[in-house]
Symmetry: D2
Subunit: 451 residues, 4 copies
Amino acid sequence: MRPIQFEKEDRLTNEVVFKDPVHDSIHIRHQLILDLIDSKEFQRLRRIKQLGTAQYTFHGAEHTRFQHSLGVYEISRQICDHFVRNYPEEWNDAERLVTLTAALLHDIGHGPFSHTFEKIFHTDHEQFTIDIILDEETEVNRILKRVSPVFPNQVASVITGKYPNPQVVQLISSQIDADRMDYLQRDAYFTGVTYGMFDLSRVLRVIRPYKDGIAFQYQGMHAVEDYIVSRYQMYMQVYFHPVSRGMEVTLDRLLTRADDLYIQGKLTPAVPVLEAFFENRASIVDYLKLDDHILMSIISSWTENQDLHLSQLAKMFLHRRPLKSIEFNIERDLTKVFHLQALVSQLYYDEDYYSMQHRSSDISYDYSLKEKAPITLIYPNGESVDLSEASPIVRTLSDNLHGDDRLYVPSELLNEYPDPQKQLDLFENIYHEFQSYIINGRVRRKDELDD
Amino acid sequence: MRPIQFEKEDRLTNEVVFKDPVHDSIHIRHQLILDLIDSKEFQRLRRIKQLGTAQYTFHGAEHTRFQHSLGVYEISRQICDHFVRNYPEEWNDAERLVTLTAALLHDIGHGPFSHTFEKIFHTDHEQFTIDIILDEETEVNRILKRVSPVFPNQVASVITGKYPNPQVVQLISSQIDADRMDYLQRDAYFTGVTYGMFDLSRVLRVIRPYKDGIAFQYQGMHAVEDYIVSRYQMYMQVYFHPVSRGMEVTLDRLLTRADDLYIQGKLTPAVPVLEAFFENRASIVDYLKLDDHILMSIISSWTENQDLHLSQLAKMFLHRRPLKSIEFNIERDLTKVFHLQALVSQLYYDEDYYSMQHRSSDISYDYSLKEKAPITLIYPNGESVDLSEASPIVRTLSDNLHGDDRLYVPSELLNEYPDPQKQLDLFENIYHEFQSYIINGRVRRKDELDD
Amino acid sequence: MRPIQFEKEDRLTNEVVFKDPVHDSIHIRHQLILDLIDSKEFQRLRRIKQLGTAQYTFHGAEHTRFQHSLGVYEISRQICDHFVRNYPEEWNDAERLVTLTAALLHDIGHGPFSHTFEKIFHTDHEQFTIDIILDEETEVNRILKRVSPVFPNQVASVITGKYPNPQVVQLISSQIDADRMDYLQRDAYFTGVTYGMFDLSRVLRVIRPYKDGIAFQYQGMHAVEDYIVSRYQMYMQVYFHPVSRGMEVTLDRLLTRADDLYIQGKLTPAVPVLEAFFENRASIVDYLKLDDHILMSIISSWTENQDLHLSQLAKMFLHRRPLKSIEFNIERDLTKVFHLQALVSQLYYDEDYYSMQHRSSDISYDYSLKEKAPITLIYPNGESVDLSEASPIVRTLSDNLHGDDRLYVPSELLNEYPDPQKQLDLFENIYHEFQSYIINGRVRRKDELDD
Amino acid sequence: MRPIQFEKEDRLTNEVVFKDPVHDSIHIRHQLILDLIDSKEFQRLRRIKQLGTAQYTFHGAEHTRFQHSLGVYEISRQICDHFVRNYPEEWNDAERLVTLTAALLHDIGHGPFSHTFEKIFHTDHEQFTIDIILDEETEVNRILKRVSPVFPNQVASVITGKYPNPQVVQLISSQIDADRMDYLQRDAYFTGVTYGMFDLSRVLRVIRPYKDGIAFQYQGMHAVEDYIVSRYQMYMQVYFHPVSRGMEVTLDRLLTRADDLYIQGKLTPAVPVLEAFFENRASIVDYLKLDDHILMSIISSWTENQDLHLSQLAKMFLHRRPLKSIEFNIERDLTKVFHLQALVSQLYYDEDYYSMQHRSSDISYDYSLKEKAPITLIYPNGESVDLSEASPIVRTLSDNLHGDDRLYVPSELLNEYPDPQKQLDLFENIYHEFQSYIINGRVRRKDELDD
């Protein structure tokens, strides 16, 4: 597969600049990129939040997949500029076109609250990304084909990792790629936490192409370490936050209830836009109609549904009254956790819509540092070393961390005991039994006596 | 009306902190404030964007009324702390309760794309704010009444400006109030422009209470000047941006078409949630059901409507393909502008859904520096002076600025002439006539010859 | 004069990067620039503070001429890159060499506390800049001559404004040049005030070359306005600060006393390094030996001098106990001011070392917006307009502002009256007479009664 | 020892605010603190750079001990405010006076380039700090004694760690104290690296007093982790930087040469201000005369000294031409390193002034995380745990890191081989032998062949 270059006439006479709070400016220099941004499939990303339920914990986190995609494009563009100036031997700038295009489109198949949605409805946003690029009915596909009939396939192959040049693939997807570099900075900016702020400009200065892909100059090791630590901190502080996960769990229970009702033929009024999903036959057309607004409107309407559980869960989600959690040790505490879940069912109509176990690593981020190609450092004389060999701090973070397991239950079981006058005996008994299992926000060990 | 104080038991044992990208932390120290935030009416503000259509120009501007309201609360809290420490004689801290509550709730009646929506449907977000506070059916009202039966009225009177203590009223609403201090900083942060960044901490240090309201120490004049200039810059650069206004105009045309169809009995399928608005009989219950998600979902559904104009305008809005504009001088060019609008109608089905005049000051911000009480500076010896007397720069900004008038039309009339092969003769003739009236992005003056 | 280009071999294989808090990175790409930075004359700028006495008011303002010079170089480099990419017709990139060199060296003739020093000793840092570039004994000159024998003259002619290409001259020196763009941002960063922060990246995007020099795209007007306002704010808040000026006045009185003593043959012990200056015969060799450290060491030694006034003034400067000030109106209050100065002399040994009039515009910045070429805006169709015509705010700032006049006197005359037990009658009488002339920090008008 | 409280009348009517780039504002609320800041001993800290030679690598790092001391005071003040509001039971606010005073004065005994200076001249800045506080001749002592005759001793005992209340001691000196919190942020700000930026406001929110001193809420663990990682990054990137250490080594060799000459009676002209130091009999009066300016002036004068080595080393320091380094493994490479040093002596006059081994941990920071009391986390139920138990990342950083060993030699031995025409044979032979020992910037291992 030979790379196809930008053609001279594709270059814009005046670059178009998008103001961006993270990178200051996004510089668009080719008509192709501009047209892709203007396509209706790409504009749809304005209606998909980047961080799903995180905005219920960090109220600034309203940013969208649209701006993230522009950010990934911009970082890729800066890397190409850096490569062509400093590594003209190692980098073939004819790869710029496919690189920038893949960077821009890599998330175009994302939908609303992707992780939870996909788990319930068995969809796959990565497959939809490929479909949107290849399907002849999309505007994106038509624009890409202007370059060449095979260009959509080339772009898709970068995203699936099958493109022959590993430099291009790793720029878009590796342990330290343009995608992650943007989202860490962007999520940090919009949540307001400082942890995600690493020295991007230094990382972009020490990044370099080599024969097997992308590597970093050895003397830039600490900048890369800093990126790894920022990433760890963002997981611990933002992505794994128990309240955001509580909203995810609540959404999971809500959509499960809707799915159950549909299967039983009891979901009324009908929700046409979701039917293809309930029936596991969603096409790209069905999928592209979905966005955060549509799903949230449906949830709004369910707050008045006649089904008690559906309306209850919809209200919990819409008004931000999520299930709350305690931590547990999956090896030691599982029996107790099942007992606690049984207590919850006893209280709440013998249904399992009001408790759920949730593991932080179940969330929609690839957390492990191991599943992708290692990060390579290159010495001045050309020798190379794996980052985790050179850096004890990175080794620690690769090996030791795994998030936590939490049991989510109705908040009244974890809050202080409410006004006794208003409670039934049943609640009181279960409340106290439930509480007797808990200490310091987690399941109590055997050797820990009552306070 | 005697102020009602926070009661001791209302104070939270541990303050609750919201992470905020603008103020770093929002400190909640009273159960009342926390309960108001948790009310469903306040949570609804998470679903109302602060800046309406500005996010179509500045893609970071996804922030909501929810976070803005928290920000106004936080600034008010800091001012109360400052007053009680440094001006215990001039400030009665029993006013803190009503001040913080009014700060938090001042925007609770806002709806989706308020300005355009209100213009078409004759609603009033300020009235809805009062209604939500006073209506016995709202959670907000029930929480407020816990303080005292008259407390909702006290809070409402601050917002309407009738509360007897002018210090409290001016903190919430004046030329330099907690509301504006927050939104300038917040809008700057999320759009990514630096213009809105003034030295908030210095302004909060030189602000002071005096008998007639709120004033500033004379030596802090330049900090206040800086605020005024930031405000001017945000108007010029962000709030008056022609593309955001193009999206507003497009939304205006779209909702007008829907309204017209409804009146003619031709809006199918029905849109139950909007009917009370089409019929000018919307209650608080109708209103509280609305949010950005609901309105955007309706617009999504209209993209497939059988009515040509409704679906066309809905697509323009949803896919961000707004009407584009030229500037004109309302005193000199009005005849020409009407002629240009006639040309547009000729091309587009003899309808007026595709052109509109728009004045920047028509947008949903109170721009004028004159309509509210002047800003007062106080000398060390107690004498005072009006800011615009002391500062030539402020005088200039008060007198000279007025935004602009623009004519919005379909973009194809303003873009470069498209591929002639694909155009009908009618388009070609009108295009060239239209273009002959335009130079440098504005209506051509008589004395300006053709290029 | 034909421009001389960078030669290929002068390009560094790997660029050298200086970490900079303001611009993040300074990118050095040519051996010539690196060698100039390493010259001992340029390294000397590490020992000259950028803001003289401002650090006694803003304790962060310890930054040096060294880093400012690197910043001016970096901004110029970015502008050249922007011009060559976007205006290849209008900009001849062969000018890059002389532009970057002049940018780097434009301040190389600065000395310690330049403004005060030059006033007392009749030296001229601009002349020394030219001398250092042209004198065959300097390292700078030898490095420049490697390019060509005429190159030092070319560089000098840019700095004196005589270089034939006005684009190059205006980049280095105009109302909005690389020099000012750097120092406003840098002074803002190090003092910690936000006022100097304008949107540099936007200004650098709208700047453009044209036939008569440097101009700005019309649509970038507000970014340029913002720069003008920032500049005004920095003058009002930082450069004109009364306490920094008090330190300047104190230094002026101190050096004047030393000069007087020298002329009378009474300055002992001798201060060899200053003798050439006392005698108005300082050569470049004498000058290059001076720096902040040398001058401060001399002042330290004077704190123990046998001359009462010299040691008193040296202690006031070294321990930051400056003369304090009141404002006056030079047209109305001059008689009173002379009377007040007479009162001071009466108290302090009949000498005039303890009072001084100071006008803010006397400080070492070119404040007026008028003395340099106007700022030009260019429309899309090539027409141009003067910024102050297009912007009322700029017009106001050009016309109306002029700083203030202050009378500096010993602080005990302006502080609260001290412990009466310890005061002599003479002090008491004069103190009260002095105070009777003052109100609100300024000379009292006739019509203002006593409090 | 009973704590002595601030007296009511000591409170300033209007707080005095210093503008600070790091903390925005430093709030002074007591006359005592203001008078200490105005003392000549404290003003002297304006003339002592915080980071010694780091400014030769990071040109922004010109900040002084003066501003750092204000910053430590400000953080301590904020902590006291936080404690008194949230932990009135655990914290006795009568400790505020001694805490703030000790915070302000903890570094008052620092001198120019402390670490190198103390190594050569056997002085001790911590002892001088105590002396300045206790010596009856200082302004500081006189101001402190206004509070009570025993107050200077109380303040000194906080700094020596003997004060009975461990909370006060640990606030000023522990693994995570106000001192470190300020210098990490401040050094990060002025160098321009982002690594030192941790979430100070969150750390200040989770810090709490307990019976044995200072601890942190368990849920704030990640904020404390982040601080530890920032600290590690600042050491690796800034404090251990090889070029700054090269300047330190050069200064060490220079002062050693001066010391050697003095002992041999050959240091002419005399340097009166250093004599007490050469003779190891420096009093507090001698010490307080020293500052950066004085030492740098002496070095300037030495550039023209008749002693070849003194003038050579002085020029190297003044013009920033330091010795350069290679890394070595102290267990494996020591024989080779001695051989390399012998080669250097052979070239440079058989003297040892031109090479030196330097270990990064030899620098003037207490790097080890172990030497001070551990960091304690406290659970909601009052139980506590050591941070390094709870955090694998902290455990790693405590155990694994130790800096490096470097050999410093003249730069010509490490640069590319210069113009052969101009070199003597002796240099050529030694150069090539020297180079044969080196690979990738470090001493070559036996198993590594020549390139």
